[in-house]
């Protein structure tokens, strides 16, 4: 009688299959393009490059016999993954997207300095890229990233709701904004309860904007912490008063960035602060109940703000970096050059990207498609980051937000909250 099973799996067979399988995988699929550039980015960076017939990178792919493989994450997980990849001995990712408030000296040391490349294999009209954004990516004298996108914050409002409340024009000062927010905290004709303004509570940029409306700030570029505590107190006083009057929703402390978009689209809020690039999404007829009625202006400063000190909105910039441990840096640089070209920058701008080239704003196609191009360019001229990069920046931001939340929802006096911000963040500041 046979004592062997019909299905036998010998050691030789097992080893043979393993080696064969590994060899097949190593050989790679033969149907793909000759090379693949792996890119770590946010989904928006991939979307603005277009797809299929509208793929802005189609010619580049064909010329370089290369395909682009995107791995996308939300902002914070993206930064974490990028730094983790760049900390390995070697990474498959050739290009990563970095936010301008992240590159400290330590982080910058993980990425390829690009100064020499911009000379030996230059980007088309490099001087056209906003100098402030380029400076933001220069750490210890090394240019580590090429700016690709900026998100400049503007004040969005629902024109239909303003008209319904008998308001003929959007506010020109912060005081008017508060007044309109209070007036717009009502039940609309459609029966929807409307709140004057919706703001996410987990992002530093909102309290910083309100502090700047009075000439204050959180951390300046030269690392001064709360340079004008009285201005910060005034900004937080406004937010607290709005919360108490219901002009900020009771769910303020758990409101997230996505809620701002949906509340405005659904007519549940009259005002919000978002990047100008959100204009198309907010007015998208498939998502919004008010297509064409959601407009934007510059966030207004207080009437008490000195005339010679314009309101500085917040701008967040993204740049493309090459990890030092990347395998194919030449292909990565070729990609960066193409994405930074005038043609692709304009194409991305038409797809909703904040263009980093000054010339893009004067392009007739962009002006006709994006009615906010002019106001965005004007706001961008005075805008700066919420805070500069330093090793404990994320912890400092979280500490500030904790105190701001306590003050806004009335668990702590505004004065005490500002004093706590200064006391708790001071040890985190760079020496």
């Amino acid at each position: 009688m046979k004592d062997r099973s019909a299905f036998t799996f010998t050691r030789r067979g097992f080893l043979g299959t393993t080696v064969g399988g590994a060899a097949a995988l190593a050989a790679g699929p033969t149907w793909a393009a000759g090379k693949t550039l792996n890119v770590l980015s946010h989904k928006v960076h991939q979307t603005v490059l277009g797809a299929d017939a509208d793929d802005l990178m189609a010619a580049w792919k064909s010329a370089n016999d290369a395909d682009i493989s995107f791995t996308t994450f939300d902002s914070n997980p993206l930064q974490d993954r990028l730094f983790r990849e760049a900390s390995l001995t070697e990474t498959d990712y050739g290009v990563g997207y970095i936010i301008d408030n992240r590159p400290t000296s330590e982080i910058a040391s993980l990425f390829e300095p690009l100064n020499d490349l911009t000379v030996s294999d230059p980007i088309e009209d490099f001087d056209d890229i906003a100098h402030g954004l380029v400076q933001g990516m220069t750490v210890d004298g090394n240019l580590i990233g090429i700016p690709v996108r900026h998100a400049t914050q503007g004040l969005f409002y629902n024109e239909a709701l303003l008209e319904e409340a008998g308001i003929s024009a959007p506010p020109t000062t912060l005081e008017e904004l508060v007044e309109q927010c209070n007036k717009l905290t009502f039940t609309s004709k459609s029966g929807t309860p409307v709140t004057g303004m919706i703001l996410a509570s987990d992002l530093a940029l909102f309290p910083v904007m309100f502090a700047r409306a009075f000439g204050g700030d959180f951390i300046t570029k030269d690392f001064q912490l709360v340079p004008d505590p009285a201005a910060m107190e005034k900004g937080l006083d406004v937010l607290r008063a709005m919360f108490e009057s219901g002009a900020l929703p009771r769910s303020y402390a758990t409101t997230k960035n996505d809620d701002q978009v949906t509340w405005l689209q659904q007519g549940r809020a009259a005002f919000t602060v978002l990047p100008f690039a959100r204009y198309a999404q907010l007015n998208n007829p498939e998502q919004s109940n008010f297509p064409g009625k959601i407009k934007a202006i510059a966030f207004p400063g207080s009437a008490t703000l000195a005339a010679d000190k314009p309101m500085a909105s917040i701008v967040e910039a993204w740049a493309m970096v090459i990890p030092k441990n990347a395998k194919d840096k030449a292909l990565a640089w070729a990609y960066i050059k193409e994405v930074s070209s005038k043609r692709v920058t304009l194409g991305m701008a038409l797809n909703g990207n904040g263009p980093v080239r000054v010339s893009s704003y004067s392009d007739p196609a962009l002006i006709s498609k994006n009615p906010l191009a002019e106001v965005e360019a004007m706001v961008l001229a005075n805008a700066r980051g919420a805070f500069p990069p330093f090793p404990e920046a994320a912890r400092a931001q979280a500490t500030m937000l904790e105190e701001v939340q306590l003050a806004v929802i009335g668990r702590k006096s505004v004065k005490d909250a500002v004093a706590s911000i200064i006391e708790r963040v001071t040890p985190m500041m760079p020496a």
């Binding site: 914070n76 974490d80 730094f83 330590e106 009771r250 758990t254 549940r268 912890r395 929802i409 668990r411």
Partner: protein
């Protein structure tokens, strides 16, 4: 023939036998022992991206243990664990007894009770967040229309903790229920018959027959749930993000913030080890009880 085989096996040296059990050892070493040692090493160093680790001794442990945010997160975690796990056990036990007593449409009801275990945590949280939305949630509106108090979880930390506890009970009830239900079904019916003949009331039968025989299953369910509940993360992270103002933060969220928001790997690793120790301390009573039961069964 069999004896010969055993003899041959005995005569083989340890070196010959080692390869047979090596895969298990390699697996345990690679997924538990080595990572644990690495985390211990990380916990006594200070490191971040682009910064080489430097030895700091127990500084990270001191920093975490003296951080008021950690104290608050620890108390929140212990509170949720103690309340949610015991409530879940009570509800699970009640349901198990109800099902065992014979319910109409038992199969369908069983599916309904077990369904939350098939729902991903993220989906469940999004669903609950929608239902209990303080402004437009259907449950909030229903409570308001009935002039009942609502769960103001986005503003009141205690309300947020109640919602988190309710959510975690709903999500994990099937685990506790299925253990207790299986154990209850395994109790021979003749024991209840004997109790009835001896004149025991239903309550006495529960106290003298059901509860003692369900004891081992209850301890196992509690032990596992204590350990799982101590790691509670997604319910809090997705519902409140630890807010308002970090008042609903739990230890796992604290750890996540240290590791992935602040990139402070040393303090994150120290927090992880503190979590292990505290969850073991919380569960130690049940572990001893389990040990006693195992020994008693062995004899």
């Amino acid at each position: 023939m069999k004896e010969e085989g055993k003899e041959r096996l005995r005569s083989r040296s340890l070196a010959h036998l080692m390869p047979l059990i090596a895969p298990v050892h390699i697996l345990i070493l690679s997924v538990i022992v080595i990572p644990s040692i690495y985390v211990i090493w990380l916990s006594v160093t200070q490191s971040s991206f682009g910064k080489a680790p430097s030895f700091v001794g127990l500084e990270n442990y001191i920093r975490v243990l003296t951080d008021p945010a950690f104290h608050r997160a620890l108390w929140n975690t212990v509170g949720i664990v103690v309340v949610a796990v015991h409530l879940e056990l009570a509800i699970g036990l009640l349901l198990a007894l109800l099902f065992a007593s014979g319910l109409p449409l038992r199969r369908y009801l069983l599916v309904a009770v077990l369904a939350p275990y098939a729902v991903s945590e993220v989906t469940a949280v999004v669903m609950w967040r929608f239902l209990f939305d303080p402004d437009a949630g259907p449950i909030t509106q229903m409570l308001q229309s009935l002039h009942l108090p609502i769960l103001d979880w986005s503003y009141e930390p205690t309300h947020a903790m109640i919602l988190i506890a309710m959510l975690t009970i709903w999500l994990h009830l099937p685990f506790t229920f299925i253990i207790l239900y299986a154990a209850r079904l395994a109790i021979p019916l003749d024991l209840y018959e004997a109790a009835r003949i001896d004149g025991a009331t239903p309550l006495q039968a529960f106290r003298r027959v059901t509860l003692p025989l369900l004891g081992p299953a209850i301890v196992v369910a509690l032990l596992f749930r204590y350990i799982f509940a101590f790691r509670i993360f997604s319910e809090v992270w997705l519902l409140t993000n630890g807010g308002p103002a970090r008042t609903t933060e739990v230890v796992a969220v604290y750890l996540y913030q240290e590791a992935f928001s602040y990139n402070a790997f040393g303090t994150a690793a120290a927090t992880a080890w503190i979590m292990v120790v505290v969850s073991l301390l919380l569960a130690v009573g049940y572990i001893l009880l389990l040990g006693k039961q195992v020994n008693a069964n062995a004899h």
